[in-house]
Symmetry: D2
Subunit: 151 residues, 4 copies
């Protein structure tokens, strides 16, 4: 099995097999060893404010954590040799977020949302990602920094 | 209108009028000027892992942000004089999370979950809360620290 | 008094009148309303490890906090009208860091270090900065995110 | 060599062999597998404000990082079997802070300062500590949360 195929499988699991991600309606736009990007439609269930049609902060944190974790998974796969690829399911089963910081910049207004992650520290045990959330107009809504256990 | 009544109204809005909180199924257990505690049932939609029945990290961040924000609202009300209470709706409309850090301690396993917040810095413009998430067995699952704009 | 002169004065106070900054040996390279950059020489007193000649993490956090706070000060000045400039000393006296996150990327090795800050949220009460630390070879050593009380 | 002796040696290295800690003037009050506490005198070099005699925020972050890292070292030693104790120097050489958040609560005023850390997540690869800083009057000045690489 090659890495591109594996990445594709991981993306499918992420989108289809995780109930909370299905609720969020996430789709994957980019998934490589150094960048991940996902998209999210507006849904009224995401509203976090009785008077304004804006995203609940928890939805924002969740989406940022998601895209960072997805990139962490891709970075695990990227580092494995061909002989080690069979261990991917075990490795991914132990992948987890250690901590995440979300900085909310503007009210979460939009028709759809794009979250992206880049790797800023890539180790054998831990990786750190920076994440951003924009709406469809390119307005940045939030920043995030996540530390993931990968080994 | 007195403060106890106002707190009660704020709690009702929080639980009933915020669509994402309705999705989460939050109920309020305690709401005073220095402590807030909310409860959350298990729901299969919260699952964040295809193989394990555990909470998605995004659900955990959302719940911690919620209980911290609820306490921030209570602390706004607490500081107002009787003459200022009419300004509560305006004050609450500008209440927002500036940043939040979540530390994930253990897999989010449980039948229901209790999130609590205490105020560690209470200013006129900004307050900072510490939050904790436990399951029904009293096992701590996560910690959080949130900075809220209150003025 | 014009803003350029005020910025210059603030920079001088920062470098010369703050004892801990004098210990750090900080000099200012850039200071405008949207970017601040400072420089730091290597000093043996900064060593945080008995066996390796690398910066103590506390020095890294301090430098990142410094450059973020300096930019926060510049952003306060930038927002004032000509008539309000006399209030700068009062405003700066209440400027303070609310919280800061430092992400350590690589061992703090170098002959000198450059810390820079950009503004990611600029409000009347709170601003949020992103900071980076590089050594003289352009290798990034750390990231930071700081929330500052400005109003 | 037994663990108590090792802990004592680690404490000595921390206090005496790290130049930045010598600058800070740190002494150790408690060091066990689940709690660390250190003390710090006031020094004029710590001043971070030209008009007020208060600690620079960078000093506060540094002290919190220190006490968290010291507890992380103690937790490494605690987990080793008698046969593994010879590996302590190697283990400690790779110990490092991944990320730290500092929440500043009050101006850093005092004659001396006490920083303490407790372990909130203790894994084979990563541990997470909560830290607090108080002055000699018991007034809390800051909170911290640090994630440390321990394996």
């Amino acid at each position: 099995m090659d890495k591109a195929l594996l990445l594709n499988q991981v993306g499918n699991i992420f989108v289809e097999k995780m109930p909370f991600n299905r609720f969020l309606g996430i789709s994957i736009q980019t998934l490589s060893a150094d960048k991940a990007q996902i998209q999210l439609p507006w849904k009224d269930e995401f509203i976090g404010n009785p008077t304004q049609k804006i995203l609940h902060g928890g939805v924002i944190s969740a989406v940022l954590d998601n895209v960072g974790g997805l990139l962490a998974a891709a970075s695990i796969i990227d580092k494995l040799s061909a002989e080690e690829l069979h261990s991917v399911p075990n490795k991914l089963a132990t992948l987890g977020t250690i901590d995440i910081r979300t900085d909310f910049l503007r009210p979460g207004r939009g028709e759809h949302f794009i979250a992206s992650a880049t790797l800023i520290r890539s180790g054998n045990k831990v990786c750190v990602c920076r994440m951003e959330l924009h709406n469809e107009l390119g307005i940045q809504l939030a920043f995030g920094t996540g530390t993931y256990l990968v080994g």
